[in-house]
């Protein structure tokens, strides 16, 4: 039974980001992203082995950051429209929310640690009853049916589901924005709003949620839905527009999200590739603001 020994202080990109920001060692937007990447790679190199999940998740975040940053560098940003700006805030808020959640549980874990430490200083009496009481107790196994025993054997000796290595970031997610758009249009009530939460109910694949979110943005851009979020972190409410400017979906714009992911290309191993890929496909065109992260979701960011 060997456990991975953690040699680093940071367990993942959120821990690292949290640390960097709170120490004010870095302003994400002023530091060159490569510095952040370098810092992270250094951390990863100090680990005994590269944790696939850590590394890939970091690439996803890095891709999002690159995208946010690049958009700010684009000429003509001053003329950006209000809704564009709101979208950027929403994206920022998602990141912020995750950082806050991360921090919250880090602090809660400290209390748990304290309590466990205190609790560990006492040892419970486990000797149980002495004879003759001990043999008086009915033998629990004698009350166990053969069925219960074999059922337990089946549970214990079945191949376990547990050792799943999550490869979500590696294997391309099959759902595309185009698919998600269709799903959303099907699920949207004809009238009245629905919360984004309801739209993604039952999905626990994070990237699938993201793709669905991107699909909402796409529909919003094309004037098919209205989005409303009253408070920071509040519910995002989606409702169908009665008269979309063009009842037919703009297929070209949908294509900007990338084709259905086919067989994965093989060699996108460098972080730089995330940047290059994005630029090449016109990821930063204002009409497809979240392309890069979508590409990440669709499997182009891989280790």
């Amino acid at each position: 039974m060997s456990y991975a020994v953690r040699t680093s202080t940071f367990e993942g990109p959120f821990d690292l980001l949290l640390h960097l920001i709170l120490r004010q060692e870095v302003d994400i937007w002023d530091v060159s992203l490569s510095e952040l990447v370098d810092g992270y790679i250094e951390v990863i190199e100090r680990m005994d082995h590269v944790d696939l999940e850590v590394a890939t998740e970091f690439l996803l975040i890095a891709a999002t950051l690159v995208e946010l940053k690049a958009r700010r560098l684009l000429p003509g940003i001053a003329s950006i429209e209000l809704d564009e700006e709101l979208l950027r805030f929403e994206e920022r808020d998602l990141l912020l929310a995750r950082l806050l959640e991360c921090k919250t549980f880090q602090d809660a874990a400290k209390i748990v640690a304290q309590r466990l430490e205190r609790g560990g200083r006492s040892v419970a009496r486990r000797a149980g009853p002495e004879e003759p009481f001990r043999s008086l107790a009915p033998d629990p196994l004698g009350r166990t049916s053969l069925e219960a025993f074999t059922a337990a054997a089946g549970r214990a000796l079945a191949p376990r589901e547990d050792p799943v290595v999550s490869m979500h970031h590696v294997a391309p997610i099959r759902i595309s924005v185009r698919d998600a758009v269709e799903v959303i249009l099907l699920r949207l009530p004809d009238q009245g709003p629905i919360t984004f939460r309801e739209l993604v109910a039952g999905i626990d694949e994070r990237l699938e949620v993201i793709v669905r979110f991107l699909a909402c943005l796409e529909l919003y851009k094309q004037g098919h839905v209205e989005l409303e979020q009253i408070d920071n972190f509040g519910e995002l409410v989606v409702s169908r527009c009665d008269d979309p400017p063009d009842p037919v979906l703009d297929s070209v714009s949908l294509d900007d999200w990338g084709e259905e992911p086919g067989s994965p290309e093989t060699d996108d191993t460098e972080t730089d590739d995330a940047e290059t890929d994005g630029t090449e496909t016109g990821a930063f065109a204002l009409d497809a603001p979240l392309e890069l992260s979508a590409e990440g979701a669709d499997g182009e960011v891989r280790v």
């Binding site: 993942g12 709170l22 302003d27 001053a78």
Partner: protein, 207 residues
């Protein structure tokens, strides 16, 4: 108190001494044929009595019942005796995962991964191995993901009577200054100037 006989008190001590797990007050009440409230009062008295007479053990209320356990002061002696560093500390990441399970239970691996971000797998396995976390059921939704929750071993180790004793999560939500610092770190400047600009603006105000 005089209302209760000496024998009642002694019976409570004997039964808890014979037990392997914490004994629920209702079980004691049934065995000794006194109201559950009296059991609770009696146990509180006993605990106080042991403390007062400076015993090396305490009567603790954990995981919904009463049990005898060693006084925390004497950990150095007991640890030498109860071999094998059974109490090797959990790593930071394991503790965080444990905190998430404790507060969010029942929770699936996927949900854990979404919050914890990384390494939820291996830390969860460590916690299961320790007996702090166990399968508690299946998600009724499609996929029937296994759901995890904390065990009574966890409660016993924490010295908690029930999960209600977990401090409210609200206590740990970062305060305004942290939120601000994070927002500053993530700020988006709506100004058209290149990022070399000196001014650090908090454009959260444009919300």
């Amino acid at each position: 108190m005089n209302g209760r006989s000496n024998e009642t008190r002694r019976a409570v001590e004997a039964v808890i001494m014979a037990a392997i797990e914490p004994v629920e007050p209702s079980m004691l009440a049934q065995l000794i044929e006194i109201p559950t409230d009296d059991v609770e009062a009696l146990c509180a008295e006993l605990a106080e009595e042991y403390e007062r007479s400076d015993r090396g053990f305490v009567l603790a209320r954990v995981a919904g019942g009463y049990r005898f356990q060693t006084h925390p002061d004497l950990a150095p002696y007991v640890e030498r005796f109860v071999l094998e560093g059974q109490n090797t500390r959990l790593s930071g990441p394991s503790l965080e995962t444990l905190a998430i399970v404790a507060y969010k239970q029942p929770v699936s691996r996927a949900q854990l991964g979404a919050i914890r971000g990384v390494n939820a797998e291996s830390t969860l396995n460590t916690l299961i191995q320790r007996g702090y976390v166990a399968e508690v059921g299946h998600d009724p939704g499609p996929g029937q993901a296994i759901l995890y929750g904390t065990t009574s071993t966890f409660l016993e180790q924490m010295g908690f009577d029930s999960l209600d004793e977990l401090p409210s999560l609200a206590e740990f939500i970062p305060d305004a200054s942290v939120v601000e610092a994070l927002e500053r770190g993530l700020h988006l400047r709506p100004d058209p100037e290149p990022p070399h600009a000196e001014a650090i603006e908090l454009d959260a105000s444009t919300d």
